[in-house]
């Protein structure tokens, strides 16, 4: 419990910065909607003429951009990018930082098992991710309501936030798994961010050229298509895949840290 509290305090400042930037971003992004909405139906008709391949290159696959839900769905892709960065970095740092800060010997000589230390840290990360997610949800609901003239889209937003949370947890687990394998924090963060960038680029490549869509299993950005998520449906196959990744990576974290030599 002490470790959880300690971690929450240690990450407080960075979490606040992340949340403030998310709120600012959503605010700015919704301003853009007023510009698009003005153009209205005519734009939408034009977009519908486009071949599917082109629409996905432009990032507006199957979504009606001029409706606020469609617009929010497109904008949401960037939340995945930011939420993923936040999560993968938290995961990669939280355990290995003890060695970096030379506090590992202090922590690991305490009369608690290593596995309990890791559990506490993972709980602290999950709380961080949940706060990030909640702030994004509230800011979205608030700013969308400000510009929304039609019916409420709060349920769609909530579904998207579930999607965001799944992605956050996947990347957090991967980050933590990597930090178990890497020798130090620096290696862990650079490896985790490389992996993160690769998955992101892979997802854009799949958008660009759909013949390589079989690669979608390798990039969590592609697990749950936004259009399905907004209807509240999550593909069970990919839910299982996500669960496997999370459980596998978390198990890896526990195993590697159990036997790890601590360098001070």
């Amino acid at each position: 419990m002490n470790i959880v509290l300690r971690e929450l305090r240690a990450n407080g400042k960075s979490l606040i910065i992340w949340c403030v930037s998310m709120v600012a971003l959503i605010g700015v992004g919704m301003v853009k909607y007023s510009g698009i909405e003005a153009i209205g139906q005519s734009a939408n008709d034009l977009v519908n003429q486009l071949p599917a391949a082109m629409k996905s290159i432009l990032g507006m696959n199957l979504l009606d951009l001029t409706s606020i839900a469609g617009y929010y769905g497109v904008f949401f892709l960037y939340f995945l990018l930011l939420g993923g960065t936040h999560a993968v970095m938290l995961g990669a740092i939280i355990i290995s930082k003890e060695e970096r800060d030379k506090t590992a010997d202090f922590l690991f000589v305490k009369p608690i098992q290593r596995s309990r230390v890791i559990t506490a840290k993972l709980i602290a990360i999950l709380i961080n991710l949940a706060i990030f997610n909640l702030v994004t949800l509230l800011a979205s609901v608030f700013f969308v309501a400000m510009y929304n003239k039609g019916e409420s889209i709060n349920s769609q937003i909530s579904y998207l936030m579930i999607d965001l949370f799944i992605l956050q947890v996947i990347f957090e687990a991967i980050g933590a798994g990597i930090s178990g394998l890497a020798k130090n924090t620096k290696k862990a963060t650079s490896f985790a961010s490389t992996l993160f960038l690769i998955t992101f680029l892979l997802s854009t490549a799949i958008d660009l050229y759909n013949k390589i869509s079989f690669l979608k299993y390798f990039t969590p950005f592609k697990y749950f298509p936004i259009t399905d998520v907004m209807k509240g449906s999550f593909d069970p196959l990919f839910l299982c895949l996500a669960a496997v990744i999370v459980i596998g990576s978390t198990a890896l974290t526990y195993i590697t840290f159990q036997k790890r030599d601590i360098y001070i």
Binding site: I36, I39, L46, P51, M54, L58, L82, R100, T189, S190
Partner: protein, 265 residues
């Protein structure tokens, strides 16, 4: 000079792997060119009939993906994104690494002024960025030439790629400034990734809003690839803006570093 040499020795390897990474990203995307260019020609034809206001508001790319340079310009955005992360990371770590490695007191107690330290470090980061640009442009030229097997204007190609250097310089400057303002930076990459992504998203918004004020806020907007392809030159205002900001960041870095407290062990 010793500081410069030490810095180069420490970061040369990571620079090379990042540059190779950039080239790999490019290679991966360029392989799709032939498959896409025919589709793209059709689409360009269609979108060319859209009113300009609609094109802008939807954030439609003004690049013609059916041409080599147009497609390259699209892929180049991702190169720019990755290169910027590298530049910001290098900028932030140059000065702050000493504190993390607990070598700051060792370095600043040497009989050299802090100005000398900052100059040596800045020179080393700039050398890295220059080297990266050279490696990248060379590799990109070969890749584009071999894979697309089509004629493209080399001068324009060079102009597009040189903007990588100019944007990277911006992020190096910003990184240096951040590293002297923030009291203690524990991990560099999360900060670098977060900041670059925020600028990137601002650029996405800017593309649809085409708000002249927003464009000044993000270096990604300074070099509009579509315009470079069309005119073969940069926009003077933004080039100027880029230069002023870089100078501003650098000067502030020198000033603040003079008085910075060095947390030691």
């Amino acid at each position: 000079m010793n500081i410069y040499r030490q810095e180069m020795k420490m970061s040369l390897r990571s620079m090379i792997s990042w540059s190779l990474g950039l080239l790999l990203v490019l290679l991966f995307f360029m392989f799709m060119f032939t498959a896409i260019s025919q589709d793209a020609a059709l689409i360009t034809q269609m979108t060319s009939q859209f009113p300009p206001a609609v094109v802008r508001a939807l954030g439609l790319s003004s690049l013609d993906l059916s041409t080599v340079l147009g497609f390259y310009g699209y892929v180049y955005l991702f190169i720019l994104l990755t290169g910027s992360v590298y530049a910001l990371k290098s900028g932030i770590s140059a000065l702050s690494e000493e504190v993390r490695a607990k070598t700051a007191d060792f370095l600043v107690s040497k009989p050299i002024t802090r100005t000398t330290i900052v100059t040596a470090k800045i020179m080393s980061v700039i050398t890295l960025v220059v080297l990266q640009t050279v490696i990248y442009i060379g590799g990109a030229f070969i890749i584009t030439q071999l894979i697309t097997n089509q004629y493209f204007d080399e001068a324009t190609f060079l102009m597009i790629n040189l903007s990588l250097f100019l944007v990277e310089l911006f992020f190096v400057g910003l990184g240096l400034l951040l590293s002297v303002i923030i009291k203690r930076i524990k991990t560099v990459l999360p900060i670098a990734l977060g900041i670059v992504f925020v600028f990137w998203i601002l650029q996405m918004l800017n593309q649809s809003l085409a708000d002249p004020i927003l464009a000044y806020l993000t270096p990604f907007a300074y070099f509009d690839i579509a315009k470079i392809i069309a005119t073969g030159s940069y926009e003077t205002v933004y080039l100027f803006c880029d230069a002023i900001l870089i100078a501003f960041f650098t000067v502030l870095t020198y000033i603040i570093y003079q008085h910075k407290d060095m947390p030691s062990v």
